[in-house]
Symmetry: C2
Subunit: 144 residues, 2 copies
DNA sequence: TCAATATTTAGATTAGTTCTAATTCAACTC
DNA sequence: GAGTTGAATTAGAACTAATCTAAATATTGA
């Protein structure tokens, strides 16, 4: 320990992160606090690779296994959602755990959130028990 | 040549497949005709693996490279769509090239088509140029 | 303190896919 | 029909994302 995390903006302190982990029944280790803080506060739909790159700069000697293990634990704990989207070949992790949709920028491949309040979706499906609806929009965000 | 393809049902003859390939500007080889016939007529959202398995039973000595090459060619020619849906770890190939949505069976992981006529989707997105809307429903098909 | 348990780690492994370079095949030319 | 040329096919290597393994390390708590 004794290192400092170079967060660009802060939404939660390490203590708050610790509490959220504890509330979710996850033992808060230094690695988990660091990753949780990055994915919950700083990052936007990061890949495991991006989490690892961040860790390489901001945390001493964290292994890829720990990155994957921790992301899996955070997903299982309900603090994070794993999104595997077509046309992207790696999964991304989403701190927005409320129901929402996604825009994939055709140029950059980057994913951003779409507010479900901006959608009206009705499905008339007999014989199908719906558990979840995922909507991915491919397109571009227009520069305003 | 001289082998016979063991198709379970037939929607197109080899000659018709040949014509469709030619119309799409794709040189019709024996391998391509066989694969095209399988994915366009017999299969339902098959993976590359499933195409290969079918070929192993019905075509002499076809390589995995040819399976992938041919699927890519068919996709580029607009005869087939590649769907790389996360939560599944292999891409599937879809002969239904019209706009439609998909149901992923939670138990089996199998993908099936949903008729867009059964949906009403309106999106009120300012600053977003929509190119394509993909909808994936996770759930189950109820046994009727 | 010391054992028991949990976590992290490096590296191996797996699975899907793509790439490479050699061989085979098919289509023209002569 | 041979011979040439370019395209298609092939086996196997390479690549990438993700998971697994087993050893090392850290933490807990008796
Ligand atoms: Mn990456
Ligand atoms: Mn498979
Ligand atoms: Zn999101
Ligand atoms: Zn389909």
């Amino acid at each position: 320990m004794g290192y400092t995390l170079g967060l660009k903006r802060s939404c939660l302190t390490s203590e708050e992160i610790e509490r959220r982990l504890a509330d979710a029944g996850v033992h808060a280790t230094a690695q988990r606090i660091a990753i949780a803080r990055y994915v919950l506060c700083e990052a936007d739909h990061p890949t495991a690779d991006q989490v690892k790159s961040w860790a390489d700069k901001n945390f001493p000697k964290m292994s890829m296994a720990t990155v994957y293990n921790t992301l899996k634990i955070l997903v299982a704990a309900g603090l994070l959602k794993k999104i595997a989207f077509p046309h992207l070949n790696e999964a991304v992790y989403d701190d927005n755990i409320t129901a929402h949709y996604h825009l994939i920028d055709e140029k950059t491949g980057r994913m951003s959130d779409l507010d479900p309040a901006d959608f009206k979706v009705t499905a008339n499906l007999k014989g199908v028990r719906i558990k979840e609806i995922e909507i991915f929009i491919k397109g571009r965000r227009e520069l305003s």
